[in-house]
C-alpha cells in the first residue's frame, strides 16, 4: 500500500459493519476497523476471535458484523483455531479445491485476557509452529467482558474488581507482563506494538506489515476502555497520546529480529500525566501515596531504557 495518508486509507472498504453492540467509544472496534483497512483490495480474510467483548457484541445470532468469514471458537484457543483454518487453506490449495486466484489472509483478535493469560499457550504454540497468521491483541489491560478483573496486562496499582483499592490495598500489586517482548523472543518474523496516533499511520502501517509478512505476526494494540479505565469517552485520543508521550506504551517493531523504535518523544512526559486522566489510578494521587507514583515511574523508565537498548543493537543484514 505504502500510502498511509488518512485520505487514501479511509477509502478502504469497511469490513466491520455497524450495528454491533460494543460500547460507544470502545477502543477494540477502532483497532479492528483499522487493522482490516490494511487488507489489500481483492484479498479475502478469515477472521478469528477469542471469546470476549468483541465476540459477544459483534456476532450475536442471527446477526454478524463481519463482512469476511469469521470464526469464534472459545476463550483460550484463538491461536490454535486459526492454525487449523490456515492449515486447511494450505491443504485445500494443494489439492486444488480452492480457486487459484483467491488469496485469503488470516487474522485473529483477542483481548488481553484471551491473549496474555488463558490463551497464552495456544498463542505461543501457533507462533512457534510458523503459521502464516496475524494475531492481534486488543489490550485494554483487564478482563473487561466479565466486569474489569485484573489480567497480567493490567498495570501496577490499577483499581480493578479483583484488585480493588481499599484500606489495605492500593490496587494490583504486580507489574504488567511484556507480551510483545515474549512473542519477539519466539523469533517470529514480525512483532509490533502500537496504539491510536493522530494520523493512525503507525497502526495502519504495522497492520499491513503484520498481515503481509510471511509467517506468524503479532500485533499488540493498546485499546483504551472507557468503562474499565474510567475516563470520558471523548478523551480516548488524549489518553493514547499520553500513553505514548510518557513512554508507558512505546511504539516499536521487531522485524525479523531487528528492534526498531517507531517513535521517541522529544520530551518524555511524567507518568502522572497519563495516570491522572483515569479513575482507575485516582487513589495514587491521595496524600501519602506519592511513593507509588515514583515506583510506577521507575518501572516505566526501566522498560523504556531496556527498549532503547534493544533498538540500538546492530544486527547484520
Amino acid at each position: 500500500m505504502s500510502d498511509y495518508t488518512l485520505k487514501t486509507i479511509m477509502n478502504q472498504p469497511e469490513r466491520l459493519a455497524p450495528g454491533h453492540r460494543m460500547c460507544a467509544g470502545c477502543g477494540a472496534t477502532i483497532a479492528v476497523r483499522a487493522v482490516l483497512r490494511a487488507l489489500h483490495k481483492g484479498d479475502r480474510a478469515v477472521i478469528g476471535n477469542a471469546t470476549g467483548c468483541l465476540e459477544v457484541s459483534s456476532f450475536m445470532y442471527p446477526y454478524t458484523s463481519w463482512e469476511d468469514s469469521y470464526i469464534h471458537n472459545a476463550f483460550e484457543n484463538a491461536g490454535a483455531t486459526l492454525s487449523g483454518v490456515e492449515t486447511a487453506y494450505k491443504a485445500l490449495k494443494k489439492r486444488k479445491r480452492l480457486p487459484e486466484d483467491e488469496t485469503f489472509k488470516f487474522i485473529t483478535f483477542g483481548g488481553d485476557g484471551g491473549t496474555y493469560d488463558i490463551g497464552f499457550q495456544s498463542l505461543s504454540g501457533a507462533m512457534e509452529r510458523g503459521h502464516d497468521i496475524t494475531y492481534v491483541c486488543y489490550d485494554n489491560g483487564a478482563y473487561m467482558n466479565t466486569g474489569i478483573q485484573r489480567s497480567s496486562a493490567t498495570p501496577m496499582y490499577a483499581d480493578t474488581t479483583t484488585t480493588p483499592v481499599g484500606k489495605a490495598s492500593n490496587g494490583k500489586m504486580q507489574n504488567r507482563k511484556d507480551l510483545a517482548s515474549i512473542i519477539a523472543d519466539h523469533y517470529v518474523p514480525y512483532v509490533a506494538q502500537t496504539t491510536f496516533t493522530t494520523d493512525f499511520k503507525d497502526l495502519h502501517m504495522k497492520a499491513e506489515k503484520s498481515i503481509y509478512t510471511k509467517g506468524p505476526a503479532f500485533l499488540n494494540i493498546m485499546t483504551p476502555c472507557p468503562r474499565g479505565w474510567r475516563y470520558e469517552t471523548s478523551e480516548i485520543m488524549k489518553i493514547c497520546k499520553l500513553a505514548v508521550e510518557t513512554c508507558y506504551w512505546p511504539l516499536f517493531e521487531v522485524d525479523h529480529g531487528r528492534w526498531i523504535l517507531s517513535y521517541e518523544p522529544k520530551k518524555k512526559l511524567p507518568i502522572e500525566d497519563f495516570l491522572k486522566e483515569q479513575g482507575r489510578f485516582k487513589h495514587l494521587f491521595k496524600k501519602g501515596n506519592e511513593n507509588l507514583i515514583v515506583q510506577f515511574q521507575e518501572e516505566v523508565d526501566r522498560r523504556w531504557e531496556d527498549l532503547l537498548y534493544k533498538c540500538s543493537r546492530k544486527i547484520k543484514g
Binding site: 456476532f59 468469514s69 486447511a88 509452529r129
Partner: protein
Amino acid sequence: MAIKERMSGNEAVSYAIRQINPDVMPAFPITPSTEIPQMVSTYIANGEIETEFIPVESEHSSMSAAIGAEAAGARSLTATSSAGLALMWEELLLAASNRLPIVLALVNRTLSGPININCDHSDSMGARDTGWIQIYAENNQEAYDNFIQAYPIAEHTSVHLPVMICQDGFITSHAVENIELMEDSLVKKFVGIYNPEEFLLNPDKPISVGPYSISNYAMEAKKNQEIALENSKAVILEVAKKFKKISGREYGLFEEYRTKDADYIMLIMGSAAGTAKQAVDEMRARGKKVGVLKLRVFRPFPAEEIANALKGCKVVAIMDRCESYNGNGGPLGSEVTSALFCNKIMIDTVNYIYGLAGRDFTVDETKTVFGELEDMVVNGRVPEQYKYIGLRK
C-alpha cells in the same frame, strides 16, 4: 481383493487414515494413542499421503485446530486418549454444537488418578454427553472397519456431527491380530470427497461460525443438535449396510451373540466382549443358555433396541468398564436399566464394574458372573449390585 495382514489396532486405524487421506490432522501424543500421529507423520514424511499434520502443543489445541480446519472446509481428524480427551472436553462440545463432522480416533485409557496408562472407558464415558457419536470396537478389525465408516456417518447431511471411534488401549491398540484390509481405491470410493455446503474458505459466501446466542435462540440450536444425533442412528445402519456390500462384514447398533434363546445375557462393550464370547461358547457346550449383547454404538444410545433385544431373557449382567462415582453403578448400568424401565421390560439386572485401569477380565470371571445370574434365578440369591470384579481383597 481383500488383503490379509497382521496388525495392531493403532496400525489398523493409521492404515485407514492413509487410505482416506484426510486434509488436516492436528494431534498431541499421549499413551496409548501416540502411535497413530506417529504413523500418520511417517506416511506424510514418505509422501504416501497429502494430509497436513499440525504438531500442536496440547490436546485442547488439537481439537481447537481441528475445529478451525473443519469449519474452513477441510476433512479433519485427531487421535487421543485419557487425559488428552479430558483436556479437550470443552472443545468436544464446540465441535458437536458447531456441527462439524470431525473424526477422533480414541484409544481408551483410564483417567487419573492414580495416573495409569491402561485401558478402561472412563475417558470416553466422561465425554458421553458432549454430542459426539461414539462407536466402540471389539478388536482390530472392527477398529479399522469403524474408522472407514466414520466419515460417511459424520458428513451425512442429516447428521453433521463428530464421531469418536473407540478402541481399547493396549488390548487392541497394541496387540497384533489377523486383519482383513480393503484395497485403497475401494476405501477412497466408499468414503468419497468431502464437499461441505458451507465453509469459511468459500470465496462466494463468507460465513460466521460460533455465535453468541441469547436465550431466544440457543435452546432451538440445542434441540436441532439433538435431532441430528437421533438422525444418526438410521445413518449408522445405512452406512453399515453399504459397508457390508464392499467388505462382507456386518455391523449394527450392537451385536447379539447366541442371545436368541438365552436366559442370561451379558451386555458389554469393547474388547472384553471377545472374552465374554469365549465364556459363552464354553458354557453353551455344557448346555447353559447364555449369550452376549455387545454394544457397538453407545451414542446415540439405542435404548429401545436394547430393551427389545433383552426382553426374552431372565436376567442381564450390565458390564461397566468405568466407575461413574454416582454411588449407584456405572454409566451403562444407569442407561440400560432406564431403557428397560421406559420400554416396560421388567427383567432383573445386575451391574458389574470390571477392568478398571487395565485390570484383567478373564473367561473364568465371565463364567462366575453368569453363575451368579443363574444362582439368582434358581436359588433366589440376589447378587451385590455394581460389584467390582477381580478386586484385591
